[in-house]
Symmetry: C2
Subunit: 210 residues, 2 copies
């Protein structure tokens, strides 16, 4: 089972690495990070680089596609060749998935037309503008379309565990969850727009170090 995770300048590292750490443990999994060219690809903060071991051109098919998001996804959207690559690769997959603003890339490829989809909360309108229907759910499966979208950044872990359950059964997914000791205990309760206090939202608007 081949899992492909496309990278692009300005991706968000946790969007990619969360699902990677789960899906790579599936029986028979072989994971490949791909990009325009083989070599290091910088995240949005530019302080992290993940290596792409294959070029997009080399990837003609895969079983699971995981498209991460990040501020750089807008350049990705503007590249017709890349969006065509997503569409072409999707035609070969068992599951096409996205995390965070990676959902914008699926939408731009026409894969979410009229479908409810999850995405980073800050890109809800942008997602709707591309033909999808944003929902606040954390993980959205459309089994009949072989598509799963998930909310911002950290949601990719939940998405990947749910997907692991569909692919290899509940016990395997639970074994992976135990392996990564995913028993979340957030010290605060501010992980969604509905839960975050106004002061935290105001601070985000003013701009964090990102």
């Amino acid at each position: 089972m081949r899992i492909v995770i496309p990278l692009f300048d300005g991706f968000t590292a946790l969007d990619a690495v969360g699902p990677y750490e789960v899906l790579r443990m599936l029986p028979g999994a072989e994971t490949v990070f791909a990009a325009e060219a083989v070599g290091p690809v910088r995240d949005s903060a530019k302080t992290l680089a993940l290596t792409a071991d294959a070029s997009f051109e080399e990837i003609t098919a895969c079983d699971v596609l995981v498209v991460p998001g990040g501020r750089g996804v807008r350049d990705f959207l503007a590249d017709a060749g890349l969006i065509e690559w997503v569409r072409r690769t999707h035609a070969t997959t068992t599951w096409t998935t996205s995390v965070c603003t990676g959902s914008l890339a699926l939408a731009a490829a026409g894969l979410l037309d009229g479908l409810t989809a999850a995405c980073h909360w800050s890109a809800a309108e942008e997602l709707n503008g591309l033909g999808a229907v944003y929902t606040e759910e954390r993980v959205v499966f459309h089994d009949e379309r072989r598509i799963v979208t998930s909310a911002g950044v950290s949601s990719g872990i939940d998405m990947a565990l749910a997907l692991a359950g569909r692919i290899a059964g509940r016990t395997t997914a639970e074994a992976i969850q135990l392996m990564i000791e995913y028993d979340p205990q957030p010290p605060f309760d501010a992980g969604s727009l509905g839960k975050a206090p106004q002061a935290a939202k105001d601070l985000l608007k003013a701009g964090l170090n990102r």
Copy 2:
């Protein structure tokens, strides 16, 4: 504020990237991945490589040290020079932290002598053998020693958010939590030894694809 994350062959990617994605957003944060030599460093599955932008030799001080774990940590432990580097760097930090079996490196450096500490559940005995006292808690702060340890893999996100709160205040930590949309909704409840069903533990013992 300089944050340093050491990498070594066979590290676990999520151990490093979870805290990275949180701490890099702190005001004034500058994050550096370091390793024996500058360049790509492979994780335990060998299908992911993160770039080290500095060598250990170049890092003489930092404010926050985040030591990830992974199967390769045993080679790290066996390298007296590296353990000495941890000890020397700790002398300069405001906070020295570890995720997963990264706690073994802190223990080997003598930083956890007689202290309760968190670690990946599978390495509890090993941790105790190095002078620490394993606890099942997810995140363990020892403020007077400037040390924080956390449990397996995904726990680094909880640790980093708690640390962000200590460093920059609760509202900043909440803003970061909202930014990474950390509102965990695991599809299963198997994230600790106490919660995982026996079948999942048996499957892990038989060996996943890792």
